[in-house]
């Protein structure tokens, strides 16, 4: 087990209502799990709690892995080139220069951007920028990756390629991945397990396992049981939206 929420209650200081109340769930090591839900339902808050940027009022969060956060917008530093951006977490951790250069080179080639080391973010396409952001997340040395709607700012064609790319990375990497998304197709295509955030406050998560193998292809999304699963998911989310 990589992560455990135990009866967690959280409320933002300046707001009257709780975001989550007495919430418990577990995440297994090595899995790819999606958090899905309407906006404002507490998905991103959950990420900040896991990351330690927020502390719950009650309950306990047990996280055995080191977490690396990847934001929705790439948030690359425009004054740093690709290599320097990837090295940011290593510089923060004061890793020696030669070592961090070697680590960055390996990560850049892992995300398929060899030759782009000295390029600035403005010279890269949206998909390339997200891959740099992914490499930067990996350079934190984290075993659990928190991806916060990582592809939502991309155009639909790039998004599809990036989803397939992420699956490849996940199969190759032996990391636990948590993915926040509001896109049903994305959640179904990518995850082994979907956790649906419903209710204000969130009291429990609805768990939906996805019956697809690890090495899945896009055409498998057309299987009848998957289509049914997507329909159900959309139904749940729509109920939430009309509330």
């Amino acid at each position: 087990m990589a992560l455990k929420f135990k009866n967690v209650t959280f409320r933002y200081e300046d707001e009257p209502d709780c975001i989550m109340e007495n919430l418990s769930f577990e995440i297994e090591k090595g899995g790819l799990t999606s958090f899905i839900g309407a906006s404002g339902c507490g998905k991103s808050t959950a990420f900040r709690l896991i990351n330690g940027l927020l502390t719950p009022q009650e309950g306990e969060i047990i996280c055995e892995e080191k977490c690396g956060y990847m934001p929705q917008h790439d948030l690359l530093f425009p004054w740093k080139n690709v290599e320097q951006n990837v090295m940011i977490p290593l510089v923060v951790q004061k890793v020696a220069k030669a070592k961090r250069k070697a680590m960055a080179a390996e990560l850049i080639s892992r995300v398929g951007l060899e030759g782009c080391e000295k390029k600035y973010p403005k010279e890269l396409s949206g998909g390339m920028r997200q891959r740099v952001a992914f490499a930067r997340t990996l350079s934190t040395g984290a075993n659990m990756l928190l991806l916060d709607e990582p592809f939502s700012a991309l155009d639909s064609i790039t998004r599809v390629s990036m989803q397939e790319w992420l699956l490849e990375q996940w199969r190759a990497l032996d990391k636990t991945i948590l993915l926040v998304t509001h896109d049903v197709d994305e959640a179904v295509f990518l995850s082994e397990r979907i956790l649906v955030f419903t209710g204000h406050p969130v009291k429990q998560l609805m768990e939906i396992p996805v019956p697809l193998p690890k090495d899945r292809t896009r055409s498998m999304l057309l299987r009848p049981e998957i289509i049914k699963l997507k329909e159900e998911l959309i139904k749940v989310l729509r109920q939430e939206a009309t509330l």
Binding site: L53, H73, L75, K80, P89, V92, K122
Partner: protein, 250 residues
Amino acid sequence: MSVKTKKVIGGLFGVFLLLMWQVLSMVIGNSFILPSPLAVLQNLRENSGEIFLVHFPATMQVVVVGAILSIVIGVGFALLMDASTIIAGAVYPILTVTQTIPVMCLAPVLVLWLGYTMKMRVLVVVLANFFSVTVDMYDGLQSTDEEKSRLLSSFHAKRWQQLVMLRLPSAMPHFFSALHVVIVWSVVGAAVAEWLGASRGLGTYSRYCLSGLDAAGLIAPLLVLTVVALVLNKAVKLIEYRVLKWRDER
């Protein structure tokens, strides 16, 4: 319109204005009232030894020392205000009030306190400048992207790392716009301070020519000052272009 055409048009218009000046001075026919540009250049050549060897270095000393101090003090205030909201709350309104006092008019008071010294002249330059540096720099630091800051926090960056890695680079475009203002106003401030009184300097020389009703001699050092400001400004632009080459050209 291409950049090149724009430059050509600007240049041609400049030449046209110079010609108009020349013609106008010939029509007036009185070099006490309006000396021709050629007369100014003539004067500059005749007195070049005095202007460039005695007065120019004196003025440049005030400009350079004043500009550097303005930047150091201005950035220092901005960093303090950025580090603490209490300091910002205390200092910002007072700085704003002091800026409503026209510094150039305050200069005689500085003469009263400091005499006709280099200190006085540098202080005039600093007072004319440091506030705009503080405001620009403070705005720059404050405009740092919160999301990027949170991202750095998620990497467990310390406060000083946030400052060095994120806040200062974010403020660089603001810093350079302040620098452009500082260059121009340092030259203006130095000249004004020298007008008030100094043993040497282009302002002093200009004033000396005024008392002799030598209009060409009055304008000649101003021409030098203008060229100095232009050259310094261009130098800052070149550095800015190199340092900020990461910026979107939008």
